[in-house]
Amino acid sequence: MIPGKFEYFAPSSVKEAIGLLDRYGEDAKILAGGQSLIPAMRFRLAQPEILVDINRIEGLDYIRELDDYLAIGAMTREASLEKSALISQRYPLLADTAKVIADPLVRNMATVGGNLAHADPANDHPATMLAYDATLVAEGPDGDTIIGIDDFFLGLFETSLAKDQILKEIRLPKPGPGSGGAYLKIERKVGDYAVVGVAIQLTVENGTVTAARIGLTNVAGAPMRAKNAEAALIGNAPTGDILEKAGQAAAAECEPWSDLRGSEEYKRDMVRIVTKRAIRKAVERVGA
């Protein structure tokens, strides 16, 4: 469990970090919380020659509600999300998510930015950010780029970030009237990656769902939205049959595989069950 050889840089500004990424190209990797990257290096699944540690860069760790959106610095630790009163009161879907990622030790180090940039469909934030319709801000040699979450995930461990871009900020729409959200995850034990996870953010007006976005965890080769399930909900009252329909739609459109977490069939059925439960919980929160 000893990683291969690497060179280590600890830049103190984003510009400096971008300069290093630019110089070393494919050989370099950003080190954020290290909770995905370091295990991969210890198993020698990843053997980067250069590590660019961005932990010393100031000003990337914040949670701020602005006029138009909630801004989260990419280096914000999961533990900060978990402890934030603002998040737990106004962003229940995000609060749910932070609580079920790994264990407290990992959450003290792991960052929201790293969780997204890693683009692991087993990670929980991708589904949540898809459901929130988040916007990401990345900086590269040519300045800032704004990326819609739907355009961010390209595949397993693959994002639209260029090699010399650093994810700086995640922006979430502020909760509007009638909105609610929830994240539910089935795990084999606490701290496990999801067997399945469902993130939902919806708006209910006069008993009818007017907007809904659903993200799924660990049931496809890349983080995915359950668009058919969303369609099944929108324009309908979120009860009985409609929940079942949405659940079935999500179960049909995901692409799980059989492994130690369960058979493909089992996972699809869990997507159905958990989708229904997550919708119910989100709707309850609309009322609250």
Partner: protein, 794 residues
């Protein structure tokens, strides 16, 4: 923690300042552990120390065509790469004996026989260089077909051990009990239930992995070995026999050990390589496994495929048990059983029930998987036996339409039948099974739970109640039957009382977290009246501790614990003589009271043990030897038979198939209790280790013999979050033959818990036609049953 029953049955004869048996003394070892001052093998750092790392096989079964170490040797800091050929040249060290008179490769020459097998060892000046060098060793393999399933293996289409004379994967056949009598009983019994079950392959997963520092002193031709060992003396003897180094030139030190659970009894290839590396380089060499190596290559536990039949008469009285079993040994029979017991103490499988006859047959097969299996927190296959009989009992009760508690009560061996001679030849020393189960039922509110279950079932909710009333067999063991590699399974204690009345106690067993430093002090305090706080307990250093066979199989209290009491009594005998001299009285006129001898009838004429100890060095009778010390090698007359009754309540999520253990009551009877606090700690840990295989843990291989659960991401150790609140109760039935009436407790909960949980889940699903579920009972297994029966969430 919740203690549902008080310590009212716990025997206490000493005041708190003496702190003998029965006191809730805090563990003497904890200050150093809590403050991070424990000293483990990986904390040993010697000047000039080298590091060893191991190249492992990516195949379960493959011919080795070539090993090219040139690139590794070219890396600065690499001193040697040791191969099987090298070991062979050094005196046939490429093979080693297992504890079960089988052989096992240290390093391969022809082929590898399991995934992650040790292929060669790299020695370098730092851990990092060694790890880099491992990557640089180029091994060419020609893959051979793997054989993962032991039933398939018995067809002998793929031979695992071509090095053996017998070209077959069948390792051995073993029987016990009376076949004819059992067949006869079955032929006249009106009710027979049958069930196949698999007790899956699991791993001890101690927090500390295995490791060693070997330090060869060329000048004095002396080898010091720091080793993660549960049995340092036995390991010293083995090292001497295998290496040819005279035993007095070997010192094995087992420092603080971070959990053993049976996994630190076997000798692993890494140890041998480390010793050879130190001999070759003349330098101290350290080897510490990483987690995956530990999980993937070190001895597994269990892996019994059981085919059981239980017979009863028309009234539901159990009459007989017939069991056939196939043991999956992996690539060598590296079990850690006493020599005469290839299937360990599996024949305890008639359990807590009185029956006329029983017959057990066990066969073992080689497969291309790591060798084993160790007695994981279990007295040699007792866990497998108890799971079998407790599942069978439940199936029989359910099949007969009888309440499983009532059924057990009807079939228990009665209190007045002890000592009880079992149909497989064991003499159970003592027990009161009815009382333990009744107490467990009262603590959990059994009758009310059954009512609740009936109501819930009406509403379509799934709730189950499971019982396990187990009997253990521990404390191996009497020398007439028990040995390991010929060494009898006695154990030992040496006590020295210092002039000022404090003492050192040295024992032949070795703690890995059980609290020996506290409990052995309490035993001696009980016998001599010296405060337990004034008694140092030492173990784990073969140069100082008396010879013993080590700690596993719940044997420390039954064997070395007895030795401590007997040695203390020898000291008391001498103390009586000195007291008589000091008090100018006849020995017969003295009586012992907690910590002093006094003249009968005149309590003011007394000498405390401290005064007597001082006199033993300063003022003793002419002709008497000075000093106060004693040693005892205790050969137990019988094993001890701890028992208990566990009841578990589960709720099942109809949507996901998840099992929630709502309540778990454990009533244990381990005879007289040395320290209730430590006993409860042992039970808490043991229950969690029983929950683990019931619901979570399993080592899984694919059809190519690749380990799919080789990290803690996929080998699912439960955490405190998965663990229910354990509710404990106790009864006390002292062992009649043990000097302090104690029985051993470390393993009861690991052994007793899995069937209680499995029985509860089956109980919740019995009305759907479910008779049995293989452990670990994971949500997908239950989900399948639910959906097959048209059950979905409301």
């Amino acid at each position: 923690m919740s203690i549902t029953e008080s310590d009212k049955d716990v025997r206490i004869t000493t005041p708190a300042d003496v702190c003998g048996m029965g006191h809730r003394m805090k563990r003497k070892e904890d200050p150093r552990f809590i403050q991070g001052a424990g000293h483990y093998v990986d904390d040993i750092k010697l000047p000039g120390m080298l590091y060893l790392d191991i190249v492992r096989s990516p195949h379960a079964h493959a011919k080795i065509l070539n090993i090219d170490a040139s690139a590794a040797l070219a890396l600065p800091g690499v001193l040697a790469v040791i191969t099987g050929q090298d070991l062979k040249a050094a005196g046939n060290l490429h093979m080693m004996p297992t504890l079960m008179s089988d052989t096992q490769m240290v390093l391969p020459i022809e082929k590898v026989v399991y995934y992650a097998q040790e292929v060669c060892a790299v020695v370098a000046t730092s851990r990092y260089i060694a790890a880099d060098a491992v990557e640089l060793v180029k091994v060419d393999y020609e893959p051979l077909p793997a054989v993962v399933d032991p039933f398939q293996a018995l067809k002998d289409e793929v031979i695992v051990r071509e090095d053996k004379e017998k070209k077959s994967n069948h390792v051995w056949h073993w029987e016990t009990g009376n076949k004819d009598a059992t067949d006869e009983v079955f032929s006249r019994s009106s009710k027979v239930v049958k069930q196949k079950m698999h007790i899956p392959r699991i791993h001890v997963s101690s927090i500390e992995t295995c490791g060693m520092v070997a330090d060869w002193d060329k000048i004095n031709e002396h080898m010091t070995i720091y080793m993660t060992s549960q049995a340092p003396h036995a390991h010293r003897t083995v090292v001497s026999l295998v290496s040819g180094i005279p035993e007095h030139k070997i010192r094995v030190i087992s420092p603080d050990i971070g959990g053993g659970f049976g996994g630190k009894v076997p000798v692993y290839p890494g140890y041998v390589c480390t010793i050879v590396a130190s001999l070759v380089t003349g330098k101290p060499v350290k080897w510490i496994e990483d987690r995956s190596e530990n999980l993937q290559a070190d001895s597994f536990a269990r892996d019994y495929h059981i085919d059981a039949e239980l017979a009863a008469d028309a009234n539901g009285k159990i009459t007989g048990l017939r069991v056939k079993t196939l043991a999956d040994d992996g690539a060598a029979d590296a079990a850690a059983n006493p020599s005469k017991f290839p299937a360990g103490l599996y024949s305890i499988g008639t359990g807590s029930y009185d029956m006329e006859a029983a017959h057990f047959e066990v066969d073992a097969a080689y497969t291309t998987k790591p060798p084993g299996g160790v007695a994981y927190r279990c007295s040699f296959r007792v866990t497998e036996a108890v799971h079998m009989i407790e599942r069978m009992t439940d199936i029989m009760a359910h099949d007969l339409g009888q309440d499983p508690a009532e059924f057990r009560m009807k079939n228990f061996i009665k209190k007045e039948q002890f000592p009880y001679h079992s149909p497989t030849g064991w003499d159970y020393d003592s027990g009161d099974y009815h009382r333990a189960l009744r107490l467990a039922m009262d603590l959990i509110g059994y009758e009310d739970l059954r009512k609740e279950q009936a109501e819930k079932r009406q509403r379509g909710e799934l709730m189950g109640i499971g019982i396990s009333s187990f009997t253990e067999i521990v404390g191996a063991g009497p020398s007439k039957d028990f040995d390991i590699l010929g060494i009898k399974m006695f154990d030992s204690c040496e006590i020295r009382i210092h002039p000022t009345g404090s003492a050192i106690v040295r024992i032949g067993v070795q703690t890995q977290g059980q609290g020996h430093e506290t409990t052995f002090a309490q035993i001696v305090a009980e016998e001599l009246g010296l405060p337990a706080s004034a008694i140092t307990v030492e173990h784990g250093d073969t140069d100082t501790a008396p010879y013993g066979l080590g700690t596993y199989a719940s044997r420390s209290t039954p064997t070395a614990g007895a030795a401590a009491a007997v040695a203390a009594r020898k000291i008391r005998d001498k103390a009586r003589k000195i007291a008589a001299y000091l008090l100018e009285a006849n020995e017969e006129d003295l009586e012992w009271d907690v910590n002093k001898f006094m003249v009968k009838g005149s309590p003011t004429r007394a000498k405390t043990i401290q005064e007597i100890a001082f006199a033993a060095y300063t003022n003793f009778p002419q002709g008497m030897e000075a000093g106060m010390e004693a040693v005892n090698y205790y050969d137990p007359p019988n094993l001890t038979f701890p028992f208990g009754s566990y009841i578990c309540v589960v709720d099942i999520d109809k949507g996901t198939g998840e099992v929630k253990v709502r309540r778990f009551v454990a009533v244990d009877d381990c005879g007289n209790i040395i320290n209730p606090l430590i006993v409860e700690g042992q039970i808490h840990g043991g229950l969690t280790m029983g929950l683990a295989p019931a619901l979570f843990e399993e080592i899984v291989y694919d059809e190519n013999g690749q380990n799919l659960s080789g990290t803690f991401m996929d080998y699912l150790l439960p955490t405190s979050m998965e663990t229910p609140k354990w509710e404990l109760g106790k009864t006390v039935t002292p062992s009649p033959h043990h000097p302090i009436g104690a029985k051993g407790v470390g393993e009861s909960p690991t052994v007793g818990a899995p069937p209680a949980i499995a029985n509860a889940v089956v109980d919740a699903l019995w009305h759907l036609g479910v008779r049995h579920l293989e452990i670990p009972i994971t949500p997908p297994k239950i989900w399948k049953i639910l959906r097959d029966n048209g059950i979905d969430e409301d």
